[in-house]
């Protein structure tokens, strides 16, 4: 019974309900074109959510991801415009993302600052750097072979390549998080950092690694974003850190750390994406869309707390 009541299972069921309801009420919804698009639109958010899940499980957060994405996009644009080969640009930009993550991680682990504060700071800092790099210009005309990789579906499926990559990485992260000692140490850090430390877990090093991974993934998402839209701009991806965190929380990961599953997060990402797509197809205005997403998020944070309050009370009654 307890297993059925788990939040991530609920979110997954809600996802199925939304999907079934959508196919039933909106003729265009379940079409291959639309699903492929809706999935493609989630690519960057989904990828970043993988890294964010591990961070939040370990009771940290990285709010600078969208700014790293923007900086990465600006760099891609500036270097491409400067005549550098895209094959050189991509590893260089991803490396920059790793450095951005390293800075976050060092500030958090070496100086002991709270990650919320640090990454609010670097959120502004990295976005500012993006504008320094590219100003308010837009760079376009990327090689079609590469933009196709960011847009096209894997042949024979409605799954865009970035989503295929996401699936692959999700399997890796899923195994690491749920089937390895390293994964368990993340939960331990999130649940009781000091206990984890005394149990021999190298808390600081692990956290540092998580921030580096987060920055790296965000920068790679920036490359995908740039190629998908065919337009490099410093303001690319502004605000998507909120969508990522919304998906992670909606997926049942506890913001205080130590709880949550990757499956829940994936269901959360899909739920937010499909719901938005469905509301748009139904001509629901942007304001109502954000109200729906906002309410969903509040419910997702509130419900587990209420359940944890109510459950002991229920057990107490004979």
């Amino acid at each position: 019974m307890a297993r059925v009541l788990r939040w991530d299972v609920l979110v997954a069921s809600l996802l199925i309900v939304v999907f079934a309801g959508g196919s039933f009420t909106s003729p265009g919804f379940a079409s291959v074109d639309n699903l492929s698009f809706a999935l493609g639109d989630l690519g960057e958010i989904a990828l970043i959510a993988l890294a964010m899940t591990m961070l939040v499980v370990a009771a940290e957060v990285d709010l600078s991801v969208a700014s790293v994405l923007g900086l990465s996009s600006a760099l891609v644009g500036a270097l491409w415009d400067g005549g550098m080969a895209i094959e050189t640009i991509i590893p260089l930009v991803v490396l920059t993302g790793a450095v951005c993550g390293l800075v976050n991680g060092l500030l958090v682990t070496r100086l002991g600052l709270p990650s919320l504060a640090v990454t609010i700071g670097t959120l502004a800092l990295y976005r500012g750097l993006a504008y320094v790099v590219l100003g308010d210009r837009a760079v376009a005309q990327f090689p079609p072979d590469y933009t196709a990789l960011a847009v096209d579906d894997v042949p024979g499926t409605p799954i865009p390549y970035p989503i295929a990559l996401f699936v692959l990485l999700a399997v890796v992260v899923g195994v690491v998080l749920h089937a390895t000692g390293f994964g368990r140490s993340l939960y331990a850090i999130g649940a009781q950092e000091q206990a984890a430390f005394f149990a021999g877990i190298r808390v600081k090093r692990i956290k540092l690694l998580l921030f580096v991974v987060s920055g790296t993934v965000a920068a790679f998402a920036g490359v995908i974003f740039t190629l998908r839209y065919g337009s490099a701009r410093a303001d690319n991806g502004m605000g998507i850190e909120l969508a990522v965190i919304a998906a992670v929380l909606l997926g049942g990961v506890d913001f205080d750390g130590g709880k949550g599953t990757l499956g829940g997060v994936i269901a959360g990402v899909l739920l937010i994406g499909l719901l938005r797509n469905l509301l748009m197809l139904g001509d629901v205005s942007t304001e109502i869309q954000s109200i729906v997403t906002g309410l969903l998020l509040i419910v997702s944070v509130l419900t587990p707390r209420l359940v944890s309050l109510v459950r002991p009370a229920l057990k107490g009654t004979p």
Partner: protein
């Protein structure tokens, strides 16, 4: 640290290998540009406008009064040919936020999408997908990349904007005296093009008694434009008129003049919006100013979309179509249709506009 070091070495190696060759900007742009998708069907100028057309306006962002006026006028035009038009769009004007809407409109099976593009290239892919489904694309206000749309309704041909500003001022000062220009930034593309046409117009014999003494730059910053105006009037006591072809500049200049001793002595005109300029027209600081008429823009865009869908035009240069009360319009080069000379606002008509 060994694994980390290994990773770094591997990354550097990759860089080194990649740097030796690869896909660069020059290798891409030297390839022949993709020809604009041309419609196989020939234009039939006598085809009747189809009825029951579904048009969708996708502005840069919703809840923007200017954009809403355009879309509403488009919807009114659609009623004239028994069609319907709606306005949908994102709440922020970022480059990527229009993309999901283009996809949605494509799925909903509209006949035409009318878009004011936030980014000419970012919208390109989805617009091409829409066109593949035989949806016509008309851009207005802010163009998409030309290969991704059928028509662009250009609200302001640069030449007409520049020349008409000089005419407007000349009428009010009797084509005589010193004048100045208060522009945006020194490298603003639009403003500089207009100013070049203003200078060209001033070279004509009928303006021989008008002398441009200074082009000042207010950087589209309210405060700076305000002080630049002050500076101009002090430096050139004989100044008769100022043209400020930027909405920020003209309203800041008007605010300075309305509270100074120059009110009624120096004529100010430019490109402004009715809401920003209303109080200065009412207090007689400004007699006339110009901007395109957003209602006509939406109206023309609607008719252009209907003409495309009905097969009257394909978007090729030289084709003509009837745009209701605006009369016959001709498609210029690059698939552009020009709205016409800027619209002049004065005390008699300013209250009909709210943007």
């Amino acid at each position: 640290m060994t694994p980390m070091r290994l990773t770094a070495v591997a990354a550097l190696l990759t860089l080194g290998v990649a740097a030796c060759g690869g896909t660069t900007k020059s290798s891409v742009t030297s390839a022949p540009a993709q020809a604009p998708a041309s419609s196989a069907a020939a234009a039939n100028p006598n085809a009747p406008l189809k009825q029951g057309l579904k048009l969708a306006f996708l502005p840069k962002q919703i809840n923007n009064p200017y954009m809403t006026i355009v879309a509403n006028a488009g919807a009114e035009a659609a009623k004239e040919f028994q069609g319907e038009a709606k306005e949908v769009g994102p709440s922020d004007a970022s480059a990527s936020s229009q993309i999901s809407y283009i996809n949605t409109l494509t799925q909903q099976g509209h006949d035409a999408i009318l878009i004011s593009a936030n980014d000419p290239n970012a919208v390109c892919g989805p617009l091409q997908q829409a066109r593949a489904k035989n949806i016509k694309i008309v851009s207005y206000d802010s163009d998409a990349a030309p290969e991704c749309r059928d028509l662009f309704i250009n609200q302001a041909a640069s030449e007409e904007v520049g020349r008409s500003q000089v005419k407007l001022l000349a009428d009010m000062i009797g084509s005589k005296g010193e004048i100045a220009i208060l522009s945006a930034t020194a490298n603003a593309t639009n403003q500089n093009t207009w100013i070049d046409f203003m200078k060209d117009e001033l070279g004509k014999p009928e303006y021989k008694d008008m002398k441009l003494v200074k082009v000042a730059y207010g950087d589209d910053d309210d405060q700076k434009s305000f002080t630049e105006t002050q500076g101009l009037l002090q430096a050139y006591p004989d100044l008769k008129g100022i043209i400020s072809p930027t909405t920020v500049g003209v309203s800041a200049a008007a605010r300075y003049i309305s509270g100074s001793k120059y009110k009624g002595k120096v004529v100010l005109t430019g490109l402004g919006t009715p809401n920003q300029m209303r109080q200065f027209v009412k207090d007689k600081t400004v007699e006339k100013f110009a901007l395109w008429n957003p209602k006509d823009l939406g109206y023309l865009a609607s008719y252009a979309a209907a003409a495309l869908v009905s097969g009257q035009i394909t978007g090729a240069e030289g084709e003509t179509f009837k745009a209701g009360k605006l009369g016959e319009r001709t498609i210029g080069k690059n698939g552009e249709v020009i709205l016409g000379p800027p619209f002049t606002f004065d005390a008699s008509n300013i209250d009909q506009f709210d943007f």
